[in-house]
């Protein structure tokens, strides 16, 4: 048999450990209980780490990507959750962290972390995606992670922001909530009050355990379906206002330049998107015959309704199977059985969400938005399979 080989698959086998021989790891006891009070991946998986460019201009305001093509299912393990920060990752003592809620409220309040954990809690599986994922212009990335690795998904636990706001009492003029992080960038974004009173959360846990420092420990904002940057990490302050604050991150950055020189502001939602993660760029098919095509789809506007896959360069499309349960604003894993005939092929997926929106092609997006748009690129991304099984980016 053969397989889709990832970059890090180990070398040929040492026959000593193969049948009929007894492998060496059965002939002596393994690591005793407690050798890892907090477990880590196998040393044979050491290549599966965040995808961080070695050529960044600087590493304080930078990003690290989830190795999507190495992952299965819909949950991103916390150690591989994507990172984007603008002032590095602060080391915050939760006992000394405070959340201040002030502005257009009846009773400005200060909360400790213990306070926040006393509120009624809720948990949801939601994706989180950076809006610049990927850019519109060449050079395009080689792997699924290079392209859309600023994307992860976790079960978040925290308190509904609505409950916290009600605790302070909103004044009628309250229309926006300005959220500020306790990092060196004091990162600031304005959130419309409708979102704050809908499904917004203050979260303190991620996949069961407390947030990782890279994801906002001890508390972050979580705005399901909104661009990653707005989900302010290390949250220290909520300022209830009548209008947005026009912070640097919602003017200079995270606005979308149009060909005519105007720019879209407050473009919050991440539109429907999908990508095939296996087989995908950087991998190799080592055999003809059965290969499962699998990938992930997501939409900031709700549930994924359908994912279509083409294996003939976009001429025809088939419905992929969606992993149940399909959750709103979570990654949705799709799968399609396929038999590779050994001929060159171009494979791609397109997502349709519950609003009926269909993931567009890159050409369609470029025609409307131009090459300088930068954010919110949700294009279909095709992979080319060569006769020798190599998989590469078909747009590159």
């Amino acid at each position: 048999g053969g397989a889709v080989l990832g970059a890090g698959t180990s070398a040929a086998a040492d026959a000593d450990n193969l049948p009929p021989n007894i492998p060496e790891w059965m002939k002596a006891p393994g690591e005793p209980m407690g050798s890892q009070p907090y477990g880590t991946p196998s040393p044979f998986g050491k290549n599966v780490v965040k995808n961080i460019s070695p050529n960044l201009k600087q590493y304080i305001s930078a990003s690290g990507r989830t190795p999507l093509q190495e992952l299965d299912g819909i949950i991103t393990p916390n150690g591989l959750f994507y990172e984007r920060h603008h002032g590095g990752v602060p080391t915050i003592d939760p006992a000394q962290h405070r959340l201040m809620l002030h502005g257009l409220v009846e009773r400005p309040l200060v909360f400790t972390m213990d306070d926040l954990r006393r509120f009624p809690s809720e948990s949801h599986i939601y994706f989180l995606e950076c809006s610049g994922n990927p850019v519109y212009t060449k050079p395009y990335g080689k792997t699924a992670s290079d392209l859309v690795g600023l994307l992860s998904c976790a079960e978040w636990t925290g308190v509904s922001l609505k409950l916290v706001l009600q605790e302070a009492g909103l004044k009628p003029e309250a229309k926006w909530v300005v959220a500020e992080g306790a990092d060196a960038a004091a990162l600031t974004r304005s959130i419309p009050i409708e979102k704050c009173l809908d499904d917004a959360m203050l979260v303190y846990s991620q996949n069961g355990e407390r947030l990782r420092p890279q994801q906002g420990y001890p508390v972050r904002l979580l705005l399901p379906g909104f661009e990653g940057n707005m989900n302010v990490k290390w949250l220290r302050r909520l300022h209830v206002t009548a209008e947005p604050i026009y912070s640097r991150e919602e003017t200079s950055k995270y606005t979308d330049l149009m060909p005519d020189g105007s720019a879209r502001e407050f473009s919050f939602y991440m539109e429907a998107k999908s990508i095939i993660t296996r087989p995908s760029g950087g991998q190799r098919l080592t055999t003809k015959g059965f290969q499962e095509i699998t990938g992930i789809a997501w939409s900031g506007h709700g549930k994924i309704a359908r994912v279509e896959v083409s294996v003939d360069g976009g001429k025809s499309w088939q419905d992929a199977q969606l992993q149940e349960p399909v959750l709103t604003r979570a990654l949705t894993r799709f799968r399609l059985p396929w038999r590779w005939d050994g001929q060159p092929a171009v494979i791609q997926s397109r997502a349709i969400d519950e609003t009926g929106y269909v993931q567009p092609t890159l050409a369609e997006l470029l025609a409307v938005r131009g090459e300088n748009h930068f954010y919110h690129n949700n294009a279909i991304w095709p992979w080319r399979i060569a006769a020798d099984g190599e998989v590469t980016n078909a747009q590159a």
Binding site: F111, R248, E265
Partner: protein
């Protein structure tokens, strides 16, 4: 009246210490003032290493020029060409710059270095001074350049 009785009142002094948000109308700008020439000194000492001698960029963003390029094939987005409000410049420098020591500048110095950057962009005179009132009064070139979210934009 608080449904859960969780949290304690924030005092005015606490709020004043933490609330560094500047409204686009200049609301919440602090007292103080700074000249372009003092701003040049601050910039040379604390900013130029990352942003270049004349704000042409380096490890940090380019801060000067680009007016008139936004609709071209090679748009240059800077504080001068792209940023809609001068208050944003003040707010951001005060909260996040210099990157190696955020929130270390005095308010006077933030006014000064803002004035200097605006003067490099031709938006404040070379001998200008900025304070709350004059900063709020600046009309940035791209003030009306923003539109709302037009998505879904591909059908």
């Amino acid at each position: 009246q608080s449904p859960y009785g969780i949290g304690r009142p924030a005092t005015p002094a606490e709020i004043a210490g933490w609330n560094i948000d500047i409204g686009r109308d200049g609301s919440n700008l602090p007292e103080g003032r700074g000249t372009v020439s003092h701003g040049r000194e601050v910039f040379d000492q604390q900013c130029a290493a990352c942003h270049g001698e004349k704000g042409e960029g380096g490890v940090g963003d380019r801060l000067v020029g680009g007016q008139g390029t936004l609709g071209t094939a090679k748009p240059i987005r800077t504080v001068g060409s792209y940023c809609p409000y001068a208050t944003t410049l003040f707010d951001y420098i005060r909260r996040a710059m210099p990157q190696n020591a955020p929130q270390s500048l005095s308010n006077d110095d933030v006014y000064a270095v803002s004035a200097y950057l605006l003067s490099l962009n031709g938006l404040v005179g070379a001998d200008g001074t900025l304070d709350a009132k004059s900063l709020a009064a600046i009309k940035m070139p791209n003030r009306d350049g923003f539109v709302g979210d037009a998505r879904p934009d591909v059908k």
